[in-house]
């Protein structure tokens, strides 16, 4: 009971909660201004999310890649790096998985793991390039990883269109059955929602994220370099090697996100006109979650849930998708601006504190 009290009294729970509420209110105002009924809209959002097993399953599917990209961004951030190239690493992960999934023929217990590992390593190496450039030549990782995003997009398109293409179509041949990571019984259970093992791997990755950074010596080094590279050098750590390592690990997480989109959801890779944006959404997720393991999970659920549920708003309440983006945007805005919300809450919190004092 005591701990429960502590959890709910903590401003760490209160502040994001109020932030979401404020975001929804601002979103409601925007909808009212546009002549839409916000109550109906929010009802349809929730209805969309929870009305059927299929929708619940699909919402989980939408959340899963955001967990991966959120961890990727948060991990890099914890080690002092801003990995804005998660998008590209995600695409490289997809491509790695598709390559192995389409071209090889192996028993499932080798094929699937090999495809997963290949995709993850593709993502990791892609990120490590930016890390290597930073460590050896001082190139800012933000610039290099943005450029690598575009290279990844067009390189993947080239690989798919040249080596893996299904004749006459703008997509690859299907990934072999033996490499797929869908969960058939769960798909049945959830009314054909696309369920896959990636969701569980994502949860494991959150644990890995925590253990690696806060429980191992490796993580101690990574965090020390992130907080203070000068002190890390003084303490005898190899700062440059740590930067490359950190980017590689961050890229692994991003790559895994891409892997499961192919092996778990689609089963093939398309030639893309533009990237999907999971990587960029991952930045928002990491920000929402304060770069903490549990925070990233909650951030991904919020972000993915809003994204998926918002289609319900369009259908159920006729709200155009632009206005839906305003609603999502204002929620993120308030969650991200802790300071603003705390300022807003200050009079209430003060009153509570003084009341408590009086009681004493």
């Amino acid at each position: 009971m005591k701990t429960l009290n502590k959890v709910f009294n903590k401003s760490s729970i209160l502040v994001p909660g109020v932030a979401i509420l404020l975001g929804l209110i601002v979103g409601a105002i925007a909808m009212l201004a546009g002549g839409y009924n916000p109550i109906v809209a929010y009802y349809s959002l929730l209805d969309k999310l929870f009305s059927s097993p299929y929708n619940i399953g699909e919402a989980i599917r939408a959340i899963t890649p955001l967990i991966f990209t959120g961890i990727a961004v948060a991990f890099a951030f914890r080690t002092g790096l801003f990995n804005i190239g998660v998008e590209g690493q995600f695409i490289m992960g997809m491509t790695g998985a598709t390559l192995v999934g389409v071209t090889l023929d192996l028993p499932w217990y080798i094929h699937a793991p090999l495809a997963v590992i290949t995709g993850a390593v593709f993502g990791g190496v892609w990120a490590a390039i930016a890390g290597f450039l930073k460590a050896t030549r001082g190139v800012n990782e933000v610039i290099s990883s943005i450029m690598l995003n575009w290279i990844a997009l067009f390189l993947s398109n080239y690989i798919v269109a040249t080596f893996l293409v299904e004749k006459g179509q703008q997509k690859s041949r299907p990934v072999h059955e033996s490499a797929l990571l869908t969960i058939d019984w769960l798909i049945e259970l959830m009314d054909k929602a696309r369920m896959h093992w990636g969701t569980f791997i994502a949860i494991i990755c959150i644990v890995v994220f925590y253990v690696l950074l806060w429980r191992t010596k490796q993580g101690y080094e990574l965090r020390a370099v992130g907080h203070n590279p000068d002190a890390a050098l003084y303490a005898g750590m190899n700062v440059n090697r740590t930067i490359v390592k950190s980017m590689f690990i961050s890229g692994l997480f991003a790559g895994l996100g891409g892997v499961f989109e192919i092996l778990g959801v689609f089963g093939y890779q398309t030639v893309m006109a533009a990237s999907w944006g999971y990587g960029f959404d991952g930045i928002a997720v990491a920000l929402l979650g304060g770069n903490t393991p549990v925070g990233v999970l909650l951030g991904a659920i919020l972000f993915g849930g809003l994204n998926y549920g918002s289609t319900g708003m369009s259908f159920g309440a006729g709200v155009p998708s632009e206005v839906v983006r305003i609603v999502i945007g204002s929620v993120i805005f308030f969650v991200a601006s802790h300071g603003l919300v705390k300022w807003f809450l200050k009079p209430f919190l003060n009153k509570r504190a003084s009341k408590r004092k009086e009681a004493v």
């Binding site: 429980r215 191992t216 010596k217 490796q218 993580g219 101690y220 080094e221 965090r223 020390a224 907080h227 203070n228 000068d230 002190a231 890390a232 050098l233 003084y234 303490a235 005898g236 750590m237 190899n238």
Partner: protein, 514 residues
């Protein structure tokens, strides 16, 4: 001149920051033409008070009177308008500009649309001559010494018509000779009718320079006295609030074997200049060797070179005969070198790590903190508790972030960590920088204790008093080379000062004293 008139009166100034009262109803009076020292330890509230006077902070309570009139100083612009000027500790000068250009910046004399440089030069020259500052208006800032740059800052305030000049720790970056010259300049200013406030924690300078001293402790004025009626000892006690001993007890001791030997060490610096030009010296067991010199003459580079934090381009470093030239910092540390770094925030601590995590900063890889790749947090905490206890680190707990500790306690934590390694050689760079007298006493005691236990200690400091108090031998560094070595007991301030300023003949003259 009527000296009884007050240039500045601060009445009941109170300034609160979250969780702290920086100034607690302070009364302060600066008379016209007076040199008034504001003395206090770090964090006592002197800078806050002066920032209020200069308009950078607004007081929560109290009144400011300037030249007999009550005023509100909303910003630095208003302060300047009222004739208040401030010479900051860190100069605010544009390096590639000339002296005159820097001085007129923001208030340039114009002829049509163009800046009238000729007039600017003349104006600067005339002010410079009037106060005996001897600054050439046409020389570029990057080509002049730190002492000269400070004079440019002084000129800047005078050019803007300052009648009241505040100096923030003005001697921190100067050599002995430069300090003497600065004292002369400040006296000139006062003689010309300017009123001067000097923020400092150095007792000697207060006694040498000021007419009146106001001592501040923990945000409150402890006492205002004239320097005729007080002594260094009394001021120190007022400042700290208890008895202090300046003398470090140090018995004579025969040094043992050579522990560190540095031979012809060279390091490349910026723009083709060598940061180190063949530095040779050694440190033996049970002695403290001090490195004196003005900041920026290669002391930091020397330490980086020895500890492997930067690679050297020539020469060698040996510890107990083992070659450590260009090894990694970890190899150097494991070989038996402890290092109290110059900048405890930059190098010494990861401020966002807990105190406990910081205690294993250089030793986290050792098996005692976990064999499997996981960190043994229990072992880490055990060590932290032990060291916190042994070295009296005042903290609310070992899981407090290092950032939350006071400077003195941060330094104690670093010293605890480095001494716990049981190093053969301990390098201490500016170990008491920014610490208050109480903490300085403690650090000095610990260093001498380590020396008495037979450790070799290399001490780099910009404070001559500290070098005198601790060192057995003092080597002077100038522009990346050692100018010579003096025996700490039979030293000569003048000679040491000249060596620090790069005067070779001073070093060459064989000393015949003592």
């Amino acid at each position: 001149m009527d000296r009884s008139l007050a240039a500045v009166q601060l009445k009941g100034i109170t300034k609160r920051f979250p969780g702290l009262v920086a100034n607690d109803s302070i009364n302060f009076e600066l008379k016209k033409g007076e040199i008034h020292a504001l003395l206090g330890e770090n964090g006592a509230g002197k800078s806050t008070l002066m920032n209020i006077l200069f308009g950078l902070y607004q007081p929560d309570e109290g009144e400011i009177w300037v030249n007999g009139e009550k005023t509100v100083i909303e910003g630095a612009a208003k302060a300047i308008e009222l004739g208040i000027g401030m010479v900051h500790q860190h100069f605010k000068l544009v390096q590639p500009f000339t002296v005159a250009e820097n001085i007129v910046l923001g208030n340039e004399p114009v002829k049509g649309l163009k800046i009238d440089y000729k007039l600017a030069n003349e104006k600067v020259r005339s002010i410079s001559e009037r106060y005996g500052l001897k600054v050439d208006p046409q020389i570029r800032i990057k080509d002049i010494t730190v002492g000269m740059q400070q004079r440019v800052e002084i000129l800047k305030t005078l050019y803007r018509g300052a009648e009241i000049v505040i100096f923030d720790e003005p001697t921190a970056v100067l050599t002995v000779q430069e300090i003497e010259e600065l004292i002369e300049i400040i006296r000139n200013l006062a003689a010309e009718g300017k009123s001067i406030i000097i923020i400092t924690h150095k007792l000697k300078e207060v006694m040498a320079l000021a007419d009146t001293v106001t001592v501040i402790r923990r945000g409150k004025v402890v006492k205002t006295v004239t320097t005729d009626e007080t002594s260094e000892q009394q001021l120190a006690e007022l400042m700290v609030g208890r008895d202090v001993s300046f003398q470090v007890e140090k018995t004579k001791r025969e040094p043992g074997e050579v522990v560190l030997s540095v031979d012809a060490l060279q390091m490349k610096g910026e723009q083709g200049k060598n940061a180190l030009n063949g530095v040779t010296f050694n440190v033996r067991a049970g002695e403290i060797v001090g490195i004196a010199g003005v900041d920026g003459n290669g002391q930091s580079e020397l330490i980086y070179g020895i500890t492997g934090m930067r690679s050297v381009s020539g020469g060698s470093v040996k510890l107990n005969g083992q070659d450590l030239t260009n090894r990694t910092p970890r190899e150097v540390s494991v070989a038996g070198v402890g290092h109290i770094p110059e900048d405890r925030h930059k190098h010494g601590l990861v401020l966002d790590f807990t105190l406990s995590e910081n205690m294993i900063l250089g030793s986290y890889f050792e098996p005692e903190f976990g064999r499997s790749g996981l960190i043994d947090y229990k072992a880490m905490d055990r060590l932290a508790v032990k060291l916190v206890d042994e070295f009296d680190v005042r903290t609310s707990g070992i899981h407090t972030n290092a950032r939350a500790l006071s400077g003195g306690n941060q330094q104690k934590a670093i010293i605890a960590r480095e001494l716990h390694k049981e190093p053969d050689l301990l390098i201490a760079v500016q170990p008491t920088r920014g610490l208050d007298i109480g903490a300085i006493e403690y650090v000095h005691k610990r260093l001498v204790q380590a020396r008495n236990e037979g450790k070799a200690i290399l001490l780099v400091s910009f404070e001559l008093d500290e070098l005198y108090a601790l060192s057995d031998r003092i080597a002077v560094m100038y522009e990346g080379r050692l100018m010579g070595e003096v025996d700490a007991e039979n030293r000569d301030d003048q000679q040491l000062g000249l060596m620090m300023a790069g005067n070779k003949s001073a070093a060459a003259v064989p000393r015949e004293r003592g």
